[in-house]
Symmetry: C2
Subunit: 238 residues, 2 copies
DNA sequence: AAACATCTTTCTTTCGAAAATCCTGCATGC
DNA sequence: GCATGCAGGATTTTCGAAAGAAAGATGTTT
């Protein structure tokens, strides 16, 4: 490569296209780019210090993941958000993960159980460390929390035996983050909901091999989150 | 564009990237490229008369659609096929489309019913025109038949109200075609299965608003296809 | 002969410029 | 006044070449 202005960031061993993909996805999910905003290539080139080709490759991938829209000779734009889409994401995610959870409960072995317990514990510690403080969470703290959160949900469905279900779950998770993160950045209505308790209930039902109960609890978990987000979205922008 | 060697094909109004995407996808699904085969860019450039950029964009899209594999600095290859993957596709498709069918049955209006009847009729005509002949179907005939077939299945779930479910259904359909088309090219065990009757049963249950029955029939429909493919795959290459 | 380093070749990836297209504002004609 | 057509600029898309990395070949040492 011609230029090598290493800004000392610990991500050297990626291709430019992969870097573009990650940064773009991260910036879209974090809401740094507004929904609907056009993603001009010159702008992105300057922002990320990359050339057109890797940017376009990343945008094409993100297009099929529903994070960006592509119009034939009119370039790309951030996929819009709406309450309808938010419900579609969460309901689809519920469908996928409930099925995956059921299958995991059927097939899960000792490692699966251990993975769930470990992930729950790690998430629980993180919550206790950050939540009771009551202050606004920094971006890094929120990010660390969200990683633990996802790892717990991933542990639940780890033994479903279907690459596609796990993959879809991951993709739908990314999409939900577009709605969750802005909602969490705003003031969370404290006390109205004990997320940690919901997690524990789901874990208990899974370990007790009660598939029906676990699925119901998981679906309710996602539904409550969606309702919270809807409440925050409704008064404000459509 | 510099070169303009229009080969008189009726597809002028696409970008090169879109053309690359369609042709690549079509060639992979039709089995013209072997599963696992490396997709060298120079080879593709010559084959399609396109440059690297649009090809890479297409390959990146196909990567997220599970039709091609991408290795970091080692290029692309056709995604491999296996009996396990085949079952994963059909089971995931069953999950998605059964849910979409149920919702369509709940919400479907007159247009929805009319669409199903029309699509069934068109498919039925096509089958009657081609099937009783008993001879090998040409590529074009098979392709026309498959389009009708998909349109029928799409009509069933048209009113599910979820963009994501319809989209997933389409993508999973493309994946299943990778297994169905080679199986259909080989000698189909005639008489062991009346696909047209299965379709009629599904349609009847849907129009009768019997969601449970329709879902069971649809799932069985896909399961039988998978079993037929498995029987054809097993004796031969893994 | 095996292990290792180095060179060569092959292929991917990235770049920057050229070409094609779209959009905007303005003038022209009805 | 309103539609229509036409420059000019902005933006996307495509191209071909250059740079970079992996795989393979060659030769050297133990």
């Amino acid at each position: 490569m011609a230029s090598h202005e290493e800004t000392a960031s610990p991500e050297a061993s990626f291709t430019a296209a992969e870097t573009a993909y990650r940064k773009l996805r991260s910036d879209i999910v974090a809401g740094i780019f507004e929904p609907g905003q056009p993603l001009r290539l010159e702008f992105l080139r300057q922002r990320y210090g990359l050339s057109f080709s890797p940017l376009r490759e990343a945008l094409n991938r993100l297009q099929t993941e529903r994070l960006v829209l592509a119009a034939a000779l009119r370039g790309f734009s951030v996929a819009p958000v709406s309450i309808e889409e938010m419900w579609d994401v969460t309901e689809t995610r519920s469908l996928i993960e409930c099925e995956a959870l059921k299958r995991s409960i059927d097939r899960g072995d000792d490692d699966w159980e251990a993975g769930i317990v470990a992930a729950f514990h790690a998430l629980d510690l993180q919550v206790r460390r950050l939540a009771p403080v009551g202050r606004e969470l920094s971006v890094d703290e929120l990010s660390a929390l969200e990683i633990r959160h996802q790892e717990f949900h991933r542990a639940l469905i780890a033994k479903c035996g279907s690459r596609r279900l796990i993959n879809l779950s991951d993709q739908l998770h990314v999409e939900t983050q577009r709605y969750r993160l802005p909602a969490l950045a705003g003031k969370m209505p404290k006390g109205t909901r004990d997320v940690a308790f919901e997690h524990r209930q789901i874990m208990d039902a899974a370990l007790a091999r009660d598939a029906d109960k676990a699925q119901d609890l998981l679906a309710a978990h996602y539904r409550r989150t969606a309702e919270m987000i809807e409440a925050q979205m409704s008064p404000r922008s459509g």
